[in-house]
């Protein structure tokens, strides 16, 4: 086939190959692309929330209390006559960015601490990892609950609490990655060239330890969405009247005959976590050749 290529055909080739490879990639890793598509759709909907939603999230209309879903109110209304569709969309403006922030911060803090621990060993390693061990000795929700109760109920404190329970997991993961990578020949080569240790860590070791971290980070975005909404559900995260999925489910707790009040925000949590799990699963299939 290569022999029959004309010059002009050869020029067009890269783009076509790129497109064909992308399609093949989509077919081979459907969960990755399905999750990514779901999350992008949510992203767009949430970003356009003020345009997509017909009513502001906190606009009360007591004449329209607890109305069932209809063309006017897609997801029905709550006990103050607020549009649940609008509130679900606006709730996403809290949950998704909060989850991304928590994972990014935990990854940075835990990642750097774990990398230093694994790379330098000795006392630094002991101090950091014992602190991580002790933090991991608490079930995540329980410790997050205690921390956010002490700091007081607010979104920022819920984020702090989530970071406090998540960083040790990254520290452990990255430490073990670094310990393995450290022994590779290219690290020895860099060292023999006279590179400084911190430079080797940042330039050579960390970039090669990415795969499991990426897989875990995708999974954790879903986990943090659950954690933050759980904290709000029990009254420790986002405070009313701000629309947030967990606290919206809590509002529906006593509405046995108005199923829509709790159902739709719950579905929003479910599908966001599902999207993250799909992405993580797809990344694992793609990047981790062992599976």
């Amino acid at each position: 086939m290569a022999s029959s290529l004309t010059l002009s055909g050869a020029e067009r080739l890269p783009q076509r190959v790129w497109r064909r490879d992308l399609l093949r990639h989509m077919r081979r890793y459907p969960s990755l692309w399905m999750g990514a598509a779901m999350l992008s759709l949510f992203g767009v909907l949430i970003a356009l929330a003020p345009i997509v939603a017909r009513y502001p999230p906190n606009q009360q209309n007591l004449a329209m209390r607890l109305k069932a879903p209809s063309a006017e109110y897609l997801f029905g209304t709550d006990e103050l006559g607020r549009d649940i569709f609008s509130r679900v969309l606006h709730g996403g403006r809290i949950s998704l960015p909060a989850a991304l922030i928590v994972v990014a911060v935990s990854l940075t803090i835990g990642g750097l601490l774990g990398a230093f621990a694994g790379f330098f060993g000795g006392l630094i390693d002991d101090v950091i990892m014992r602190l991580a061990d002790v933090t991991l000795a608490f079930p995540a929700v329980v410790l997050a609950l205690a921390i956010s109760a002490l700091l007081g109920p607010s979104l920022n404190n819920a984020i702090v609490a989530a970071c406090a329970v998540l960083w040790p997991e990254y520290a452990r993961l990255i430490r073990s990655q670094v310990i393995v990578t450290r022994t590779f020949e290219y690290v020895t080569a860099a060292r023999s060239l006279g590179r400084r240790e911190v430079g080797i860590l940042l330039r050579h070791v960390l970039p090669n330890a990415w795969t499991p971290i990426l897989i875990k980070a995708a999974l954790d975005v879903g986990g943090v969405i659950l954690l933050v909404s759980a904290l709000s559900f029990i009254g420790l995260g986002v405070r009313p009247p701000t629309a947030e999925w967990g606290s919206m489910v809590a509002l529906g707790r006593t509405k046995f005959y108005q199923w829509w009040v709790a159902t739709f925000p719950g579905l929003a949590i479910l599908f966001s976590i599902l999207a993250c799990n799909l992405i993580s699963e797809g990344l694992r299939n793609w990047l981790d050749p062992r599976t």
Binding site: R130, L131, D133, V134, T135, A137, F138, P139, A140, V141, V142, L143, L145, A146, I147, S148, A149, L150, L151, G222, L226, S229, A230, F233, I234, G235, L236, G246, V249, G252, R253, F256, Y257, W259, A262, T263, P265, G266, I269, L270, F271, I273, L274, N277, L278, E281
Partner: protein, 339 residues
């Protein structure tokens, strides 16, 4: 290393861990900008000089911080976790009355996950890539994505309020006499009492929360069993067993499964953390009077001694469970002891 020595070593290693846990809790409470005195006796008692003085003396609040930690530690070792603002009872007594409910729910959820998850995981692993395998994969993915506090509500809506085929919130039918408390586990107490009606009542109330709380663990057990079976079925010893003419069923049960169970033991320790975390939400939804519900109520009303005591208890339980898992693992796989 002999088994006894291994267990002894693991036990000794847990001691610094427990110290670390108390230290972390103590630190968290000292970083927060709330007057520690308020944290111990509550807002309302601040006007009473006698109470204030007694608390300062008891918790050494006029001493340097390391001495305060030491006092805190000795008080814990004496079993004194302070007095709950909410119930006005010693926190330890509160925890003692709430713990059995959580144990009952956690154990039944774990049983549910294991009894259902292992056979399904084996089937999915053996028929790797089949339609059934994909179905199981989808179910476990979905299960891993469900927020338990929401699923609990939906289950209550559907099976209790709408269909009326399941028991409602709470641990026991409200109009029935509870069996005399021996263990605090209502199912076990009913059996000890020989009261089958009470056992039925307790079991019917256990059903929904078990499915909700166990569902998450089920997803985990399923996934790990499946992956382990897939891996083991490719091993050479499986080929050997097949080639000597062993029935496929025996190849799976006697050979592959035994080796696949090892990673499962580790997962069960991990699952237990998930159960304790999930219990916080499940107990709240189902009005289940366990540690989780106690913690949530304490958190909502800023009942500091109760939050601190409850968190400490759960962390200690978790350390003990992990210890048991490690020991069990070392019995099943002696290589660990020599590692």
């Amino acid at each position: 290393m002999s088994l006894v020595r291994y267990i002894a070593r693991r036990l000794i290693l847990s001691v610094p861990m427990l110290f670390g846990i108390t230290l972390v809790l103590f630190m968290i409470y000292n970083i927060v900008q709330v007057d520690p005195l308020v944290m111990i006796i509550g807002e309302r008692a601040m006007d009473n000089p006698q109470v204030v003085e007694a608390a300062i003396r008891k918790w050494g609040l006029d001493r340097p911080i390391w001495e305060q930690y030491f006092t805190y530690l000795t008080n814990i070792l004496r079993g004194d976790l302070g007095t709950s603002f909410l119930t006005r009872r010693p926190v330890l007594d509160d925890l003692r009355t709430h713990l059995p409910a959580t144990i009952e729910l956690a154990v039944s959820s774990l049983l549910f996950a294991v009894v259902l998850g292992i056979p399904l995981g084996i089937a999915a692993g053996v028929y790797f890539g089949s339609l059934f395998d994909r179905f199981v994969w989808f179910i476990s993915l979905l299960n891993g994505s469900l927020p338990p506090f929401w699923t609990g509500l939906i289950f209550l809506f559907v099976f209790y309020y709408s269909l009326g085929i399941a028991a409602g919130p709470g641990r026991f039918p409200p109009r029935m006499d509870r069996p005399p408390a021996v263990t605090g586990l209502l199912t076990l107490d009913s059996i000890l009492d020989g009261n089958m009606a009470a056992l039925g009542g307790a079991l019917s109330h256990l059903l929904l929360p078990t499915v909700i709380l166990g569902g998450f663990t089920l997803a985990l057990v399923l996934r790990v069993t499946r992956a382990a079976i897939v891996e083991e079925m490719r091993r050479e010893y499986v080929r050997t067993a097949r080639s000597k003419g062993l029935a496929e069923r025996l190849v799976i049960v006697r050979h592959a499964l035994r080796n696949a169970l090892l990673p499962l033991i580790t997962i069960i320790g991990l699952a237990f953390a998930g159960l304790l975390s999930g219990a916080v939400m499940t107990e709240t939804v189902f009005d289940w009077a366990g540690i989780g519900q106690y913690l949530v109520r304490a958190a909502a009303s800023l009942d500091y001694p109760a939050i601190q005591g409850g968190t400490l208890l759960i962390a200690i339980i978790y350390v003990i469970v992990n210890l048991c898992v490690d020991v069990l693992y070392s019995i099943l796989d002696p290589r660990v002891r020599h590692g």
